[in-house]
């Protein structure tokens, strides 16, 4: 090989590496812009009374977002309570029985559910819960968000459990441990970090959803802790305030956006901790 072709190859190697780094940088750039923009606009609105007070009527200065913060936590709690058990058991089913018509059908349903637009999920929850119970409610909002979390949890559970070595199951069964106990006490704990990560990421995903809540949780200017009454949430509040004509409400919307982003960021960091803490080395 002559010297110039070697030099050309080395140059191309370097150039290629440069292109990869440049494009990676470009892809994380918007994230930094968003963070910077929201922080600069929102942080000035955030103080203790902003976090602890209720919203005030138009015209009055001040007011806070405490009801939206509590509402978001309640909606997340309701949706988690019913999507986590369903999602984990469906995930166990898919990873345990990999063939068969019902498995195929289940997987198809999960994939379809994942692809359904969030506004449609909101309408479905409206029909199922709001119309039946005759009132907008935290419960209906939780159902809508739970439907959005479900496919994420099913998939995370399935993928995690599929990676657990067969030897682990055999070790348990060979000790005379029954099949249900093997699943619940050996297989699930071994997959704990992956499953928890899936749950946390799905929460981070739905915590910022607005569309499914428009006809379900509906929003409310008051503090509400009743699951059968309308409830506010951060994204709903942002939506309502940002589309209002009042500049002081715009400021509140920026502040609420900042709080929401910090919450989502916190959840993402928490998943890193979970992975580090419960990661199992096979």
């Amino acid at each position: 090989m002559d010297e110039s072709s070697v030099r050309r190859r080395i140059l191309w190697d370097k150039l290629f590496k440069g292109i990869i780094i440049l494009l990676t940088f470009c892809s994380i750039l918007p994230m930094f812009f968003i963070l910077f923009f929201i922080t600069s606009k929102g942080i000035s609105a955030v103080n203790w009374s902003f976090l602890t007070q209720l919203p005030k009527p138009v015209g009055e200065m001040g007011g806070g977002i405490s009801n939206a913060i509590i509402g978001t936590f309640m909606l997340v709690a309701i949706s988690t309570v019913f999507s986590v058990p369903l999602g984990i058991f469906a995930g166990i089913f898919l990873s345990e029985y990999r063939n068969g018509r019902f498995v195929y059908f289940t997987r198809l349903c999960v994939e379809t559910l994942q692809g359904i637009p969030s506004i449609v999920i909101g309408i479905v929850a409206y029909m199922w819960v709001v119309v039946q119970m005759g009132s907008f409610s935290a419960l209906s909002g939780g159902v809508a968000l739970g439907l959005m979390m479900l496919p994420v949890i099913v998939t995370a559970t399935e993928e995690t459990l599929k990676l657990i070595p067969e030897g682990l199951r055999e070790a348990s069964l060979a000790l005379g441990v029954s099949y249900p106990r093997t699943i619940l006490k050996v297989i699930l704990p071994a997959g704990l970090s992956g499953i928890l990560t899936g749950i946390l990421l799905s929460i981070a995903r739905v915590a910022g959803e607005t569309a499914p809540l428009l006809f379900t949780a509906f929003g409310s200017p008051f503090m509400n802790l009743h699951i059968l009454k309308p409830i506010n949430s951060l994204p709903l509040m942002i939506f309502n305030y940002a589309t209002s004509p009042y500049p002081e409400w715009h400021t509140l919307a920026w502040g609420a956006s900042f709080v929401l982003i910090v919450f989502v960021l916190g959840l993402n960091l928490l998943t890193k901790v979970v992975i580090k803490r419960w990661k199992v080395q096979f």
Binding site: P165, G167, L168, E170, A171, S172, L173, A174, L175, G176, V177, S178, R181, T182, K185, V186, P189, A190, L192, V280, Q281, F282
Partner: protein, 252 residues
Amino acid sequence: MESAVLKIENFSAFFGENQVLKEIDLSISRNRITAIMGPSGCGKTTLIRCINRMHELIPNAGVSGKIFLDNEDIYATDPIIVRRQIGMVFQKPNPFPMMSIYDNVIAGYNLNGIRLAKDEKDRVVEESLRKAALWEEVKEALHRRGTFLSGGQQQRLCIARALAMGPAVLLLDEPTSALDPKATSHIEELIVQLKDTVTIVLVTHNIGQAARVSDFTAFLYLGELIEFGPTGRLFTAPKDKRTEEYLTGKFG
């Protein structure tokens, strides 16, 4: 006459239509080491997985014939009971990765929901680890995860875990095939020591290992039991031509 703890009678095993064991008759003597050897695919692993009813976990698997443990038909007993009486150690060490060494040894009790007092647990753990010749190496680290151990130590941990249940029979499925020579000789010494405590059935594709540790040897070929007898006799004066050819390396 040796007393037989396991009796395998006219036993066949299948994967769907495919017959992988053909009318095996074999009796395993108490407190002896019985080696089952043969080339890859001869059915030796299937045979021991039938003894603790792990074979049936594979879809399409089927069996015919009988296996008796102390005159009790194991195919008429709940498989969960059978597996607590017949322990198994696998090719690849498989300690529970989320558990400490201590919890691994006691796992058979904890996972089965059998409650033991703390000092009873301590006693079972120490005794089992001593039997598995691992106690001295890990007694200071009982609450570290089992997966920090070396491969050979992990395999001895798996042996301790099986012994903790107090099984009548211990099945070893090529227990040293994933280990280096030093760890292998360590495990072989251990197997010989263990026969005072438990009856051992050892599957191996290593002829030397069968010769070194076992009292009886069975030679399986293409799902058939070709020859069975005391190890010394079988290795020095095989009766069947196929056994002789296998031992002299003509196939396998």
